[in-house]
Symmetry: C2
Subunit: 120 residues, 2 copies
């Protein structure tokens, strides 16, 4: 068995399996920008800046969003550690979303970006 050849092959596979990683960027900044660049994500954070909101309230604020996409975005934001999900106790069931500390600090940067965008 040609070990060298096998290793070469494995290495080649390891490399070739990832040439079109479809955004497996090694740069964390680019990764975060890609995430924030997804529609609704930044907007959700911006709305939550003013305080926690329920799912239904977000549906009304984000004009045009569909349930599927909103749920998907909220889930991703939670996974990213930017928002927290809190389940209500009463009836009907409610779910409230709020910024985490990390989310708040990120929004600070987005605010800087907003200022930049407005500046000459």
């Amino acid at each position: 068995m040609d070990t060298t050849r096998l290793l070469t092959h494995e290495i080649a596979n390891a490399v070739l399996d990832a040439p079109a990683p479809l955004h497996a960027s090694e740069c964390p900044v680019e990764k975060w920008l890609a995430f924030l660049g997804h529609r609704w994500n930044a907007l959700i954070l911006w709305h939550l800046k003013a305080g926690p909101l329920r799912y239904g309230q977000l549906t009304e604020l984000l004009v045009g969003v569909t349930p599927k996409v909103l749920a998907e975005r909220l889930s991703a934001l939670e996974d990213a550690g930017l928002v927290s999900r809190r389940l209500g106790l009463g009836f009907p069931r409610t779910t409230t979303y709020a910024l985490t500390g990390r989310g708040v600090s990120l929004v600070t940067i987005l605010d800087a970006l907003e200022l930049w965008a407005k500046g000459n």
Copy 2:
């Protein structure tokens, strides 16, 4: 002629033509984030931070980028006013890309984002 009805119709069209604007977000921040979230864009800015670069140099630095996509991105960055294109005089022809003032100030914010990404 029913002016009211016509106006209503026009307004309805103006609204209905845009229900799935495919990212015609009214929020400038979201617009910029979508732009920066496009693959390579932020990376190009980051590389140009160190100084102007030629097209071929960028091709080498951005491993995996195709000519079409790189040209498209550079064009978009130029249109956005973030980079400038300077044509060389000698032979063979050269094109050099550099950050504009606006590009530099944006990279400052991206640096803040990088710090944030690294932070706890």
